[in-house]
Every structure is written in structure tokens, then in C-alpha cells.
Amino acid sequence: MTTIALLLITGLGLGALYFLIAAGLSLIWGLMRVLNFAHGAFFTVAAYAGWSASGLVGGASPELQWLVAVAVAVVVGGAFATLTEVVLIRPLYARHVGQVLVTVGLALATISLVQGGFGSDPKRLALPAWMTGTTTIVGANIPNTRLLVIAFALAVFALLIFFLRRTRFGLIVRAGVENRAMVQALGIDVQRAFTLVFAIGGMAAGLAGILAGTYYGTIDPGRGTSMLIFAFIVVIIGGLGSVTGSAVAAIVVGVLQQFLNFYGAAGVGDFSVVLLLAIVLLVRPGGFSGAST
């Protein structure tokens, strides 16, 4: 029972990280039909920016250091993503494959630059003492970072749903996902919505970057890319363009991965996630939420 509780909550924590990356990817794809490979670069750059900032305020209390790291990561992730959209994606609106290629190039260049600048060894993130402790839930000692990551993901999910359902821009984004041409025909500037979803996606990815650093205790240049691939899987299983679908799929993928990695051999969990993807595609090519592409 304790093992199951531990695995379940750890899996939810992992799912929370996947969700933070996948939500932005899914919105960007739904609205713009861009497969954003640079999302892993937003994640990585933001994580390193947060780590550097927390080093700059090294004299402060660990709590403050960590909060500075989170704030800087979110801001840098959002700014980097906005800049990417304006400078690299915008000139290529008419060329979809070109947009994907540019994000591929950006991901390669940025991650190798980070690796060159900071080295490929993991960097330890300064954490407040209470985060490294554990909380006992149904007899299992759950690391507090897992709970923290889940809480953040829930908050982001609530904010995103509020934004999409209750604000004017959210309405435009939802309408654009349904039918972009019609929104444009009604005289609404969809381009601003494009920049907006990139900014939101980048902020969420930046948050994921620093939270992954909190979850694992360290940050390294390669993690963004490997998490991005699982986030892609989450996006497809959840149904492209659907934030709720991504949330459900992220939980399924994260928990499944944890359980099978524990009860099977190492790597079985990662492998089964891909298998799950194949099965979902065979049964429902549009993903859980059923929106056909």
C-alpha cells in the first residue's frame, strides 16, 4: 500500500511536469499548426536562467533563492518564447514545414550553446530545507517536492482553464483552434493570439524547467529534450489542441511510467508509454478527446 501510494504520487508529479510542457505545445499546435521543437529549449534556458539567478542572490535565505529562481525561469521562458514567435515563426506563416524546421534549428543551437556555456554536468539547485523533507501520506514518505510540483501544475491548469473559458483572448484562442479562417474572416487579429499562446507556452515550459530542477534536485542540458518527447506523446494521446485532454493524458502517462519502471525492469515504463501511444493511435487516431485532426 505504501509503495503504491509513493509510486502514485511520484507518477502524478512526473505527470505534472509533462502537463506543464504539453499544455503549451498542445495550444500552439491547435491554434497555429506548429510542432514546436524549441519547447525543450525554452525549458532548458529558463531552468539555467533560474539557477543562475538563484546563485546571484546566494546570500539570501533558501526560500527566497528558490522563489527568485522560479520567477526568473517563468519570465525568461515567456520572453524567449515570445521572441521566437516574433523573430523566427512570424516570417514563415505561409510555410508550415519551414516553421518546424526553424524550431528544430533553434533547439539544436540553443541546447548546444547551454552545454558549451555551463558544461554538461548536472547543476545542483539550492532548495529550502522543507522541500528536501518528506510528508507521510497513508504510511508512505512522500518527498515534498512531488507535492509541490503537483500543486503548481494544478494551479496552472486552473489558470489556463479560467483564461480559455472566461476571458476574451481565451475565447479567440478556442475559436481559432476550432476554425482559424473563420476567426480571421470575422475581423479578429489572430496574430496577437499566436504571440500570446507562445508566451503562455513558454512561461509554462520555463516553470516546468525550474520545477523539474526541484523535482530531481539538479538541472542538466539534456533533460529538456528527453521530457519534450514524452510531452509530445502526451499531446497526441490527449488529443491535439485540448488542454484538458493533455492533463488527463499527462496523468495516465506519468503514473503508468512510474509503476512499470518499478515493477518491470528499468526502462519498461518508458517503453510501454510508446506502446500505449501506438494502441491509442490504432483505436482512436484523434486521441482521447476525439477531436479528429
Binding site: 516570417p91 510555410r95 519551414g98 539544436l108 543551437a109 548546444s112 550553446l113 558549451g116 529534450t225 526502462g267
Partner: protein, 346 residues
């Protein structure tokens, strides 16, 4: 150029290339050491392999319009199946090659059948996921077969002696050159055959092909399997050249590098893809040498760090090409040829 002149130039060029291992002189700046020396020959042979590999990728991406992110998987199939059969099971080379051939037909057939249920970007993501599964499998070292992250040195007692050792690099060089020529011919034949024309029609307008009563799914699957099979052949030669398998060839980064090669050279032209593969591999190799020169090492950190990362330079070059030179190097070269040809009145 008339076709006959072009053919003559091509044949002469190939003969010169094939005779390269006999050359004793060196070209300073371009290559270190003598032109016929093992180091240069190995680099050139790798360039040929990557030229051929880029060509196989261009078959699906450039000619059918399938943006696959899983091509590394099929290259790695060629590398790892052969390496395991020879090193771990002590099979003779022909038997190992036969097994590799079977696997590299069956695997893309099954995976392609699943992946091609999706189109465009979802297809790209699914191929990426399968390739990642392959990468995980290799890294986990199942039954001690793949050697995990340390890779697998090609060993065993069954390899013919003319393939082993530094002194036999020239044999490998000829094999790599032959691989490039054979794959080029196969690809040329394929894209100019009736199915090849259907592939290009699918790239332009898939719905219309379906309207004409053809089944795009089967044509796409055919192209996918052919391209994957040829990529596995490249993998086998790569394995012989490197003398071992390393897990790097299974990663998504490797597929992305292939994408860069094809776009670098020019999408949808055969020789453009070859050019891209050769140039990429050469630059990747030489840029490392550049970063170790004293001129670069003496620079302040803000300049030295980016210049020491070949992938950074290639990534930036790639972005610039996509933004400003959509046809790639091949396209730019062709435009230039056409332009000068026009002014001369040829």
C-alpha cells in the same frame, strides 16, 4: 551542360575519387595529413555514408513529403543488428547481413503501417516516439546485447581480415563510395519510376491522388520501407567504418541532424541531399578542429564558447538557410548556374 558532358564529368570525378587512396600528396587546410592516409580516407568515407543516408531521408521527406522524425531508428537497426550478430553471436558476416536485411524490412513495415495512419505533424510525432523507444531499448542493454551507453565494439573472429585494421581503411573507403553510388542509382531509379511519380504527386496533393483511384497509404508505406531499408544498409557500412556501434546513432538528435543535412543541401533533389550530408559531416568534423585552434582558444569566452560548439554553428546556419535560402545549398548553386548560363547565352 549537355547530358553527355555531364556524364563524362561524373565518371571522371568518380574515377578520381576511387583512385584517391593511392594519392600521396596532401591538401593543407582542407584535410590533415596525406590525402591517401587513413585519417582522411576515414573522414571521406564517413562523408559518403552520410551523403547516402541523407539521400535515403530525402526519399521520404523530399519526395513523398513525409516529415519522419524516426529515421535514426532504421540506421541504428543496420548498425546494431549486424554488430550483435557478429560480435555477440559469432555469426559469419553474410549470415549477419542476411538477418539485418530481414529485420530492416520487417521493422519499418510494421512501424510504418502504424505511423502512416497519421498525417503531417502527428505522423512526425509518432515516428519520433517509436525512434525514442528504440533509443531506450538500446540504452537499457537488454540481455547484455547492445552494451548500453558504452556501445558495442565490433569484434569476433568471423570478420574477414580485409575489413579490419588501419591499413585496410582504403577497402572501407571503396565500400563507402560503392554504397553511395548504389544508393544513388536505386533512389534515382525509384523516383523516376511510375510509383516514384505517384510519391511526388502525394507530396503535392494527396487527396487528388486518392481521387484518381490510387491508394496513397500503400505508396507511402512502400517509400517508407524502401528508405528505411537503404538507411539500414548505410548503418552497416557505418558500423564497419567506425569499428563499433555507439548509442548516439539511435537518438532523436541524430534524426534532427539528418533533417539539417537534407535541408542544408536542398529538399527534393537527389544530389542536393548528398551534398548536404557530405558538407554536414565534413563541417561537423572540421569545426571541432577549428575550435581547438589557438586563434579560437585565445578569444574571450563570449566568442569562444559558441565557436567551440559545432552543433550551435550548424543550428544557426540551418535557421538562416530555412529563413533566407529555402532551396538549400543545392538550390542556391543551381540558381547561380542557371543565372550565369543565361547571361552567357548558353
Amino acid at each position: 551542360m549537355t547530358p553527355r558532358v555531364r556524364l563524362t564529368v561524373l565518371v571522371v570525378g568518380l574515377v578520381v575519387l576511387a583512385a584517391l587512396p593511392l594519392a600521396g600528396f596532401s591538401i593543407p587546410g582542407l584535410f590533415e595529413g596525406a590525402l591517401g592516409g587513413p585519417g582522411t580516407l576515414n573522414l571521406l568515407a564517413l562523408c559518403f555514408v552520410f551523403g547516402a543516408l541523407a539521400l535515403t531521408y530525402d526519399l521520404v521527406f523530399g519526395y513523398v513529403g513525409l516529415l519522419s522524425f524516426g529515421h535514426a531508428l532504421y540506421f541504428a537497426t543496420g548498425v546494431y543488428v549486424t554488430a550483435i550478430a557478429v560480435t555477440r553471436w559469432h555469426w559469419s558476416l553474410p549470415a549477419a547481413l542476411l538477418l539485418t536485411a530481414v529485420v530492416s524490412l520487417v521493422l519499418p513495415l510494421i512501424l510504418g503501417a502504424v505511423c502512416l495512419r497519421m498525417r503531417d505533424i502527428p505522423f512526425a510525432m509518432v515516428t519520433l516516439a517509436f525512434a525514442q523507444a528504440g533509443s531506450i531499448l538500446v540504452a537499457q542493454n537488454p540481455f547484455g546485447l547492445t552494451g548500453g551507453e558504452e556501445g558495442l565494439a565490433l569484434g569476433g573472429d568471423t570478420l574477414p581480415s580485409f575489413l579490419i585494421g588501419v591499413t585496410n581503411t582504403r577497402n572501407l573507403f571503396w565500400i563507402a563510395l560503392a554504397l553511395l553510388i548504389v544508393i544513388y542509382l536505386v533512389a534515382w531509379r525509384a523516383v523516376n519510376s511510375p510509383p516514384g511519380r505517384v510519391w511526388q504527386a502525394i507530396r503535392e496533393n494527396e487527396r487528388r491522388v486518392a481521387m484518381l483511384g490510387l491508394n496513397p497509404y500503400l505508396y507511402k508505406l512502400g517509400a517508407f520501407v524502401l528508405s528505411a531499408f537503404l538507411a539500414s544498409a548505410c548503418g552497416v557500412v557505418y558500423l564497419l567504418l567506425q569499428g563499433g556501434a555507439n548509442p548516439e546513432v539511435t537518438t532523436s538528435g541524430f534524426t534532427l541532424a539528418l533533417l539539417v543535412m537534407v535541408v542544408l543541401g536542398g529538399v527534393g533533389t537527389l544530389w542536393g541531399a548528398v551534398l548536404g550530408g557530405v558538407v554536414y559531416e565534413y563541417l561537423d568534423f572540421r569545426l571541432v578542429a577549428l575550435s581547438n585552434t589557438s586563434a579560437v582558444q585565445a578569444l574571450p569566452g563570449i566568442l569562444r564558447v559558441p565557436l567551440s560548439e559545432p552543433l550551435f554553428l550548424l543550428g544557426v546556419l540551418f535557421i538562416v538557410l530555412v529563413l533566407f535560402v529555402p532551396g538549400g545549398l543545392g538550390g542556391a548553386l543551381r540558381r547561380r548556374l542557371v543565372l550565369t548560363g543565361a547571361t552567357k547565352g548558353v
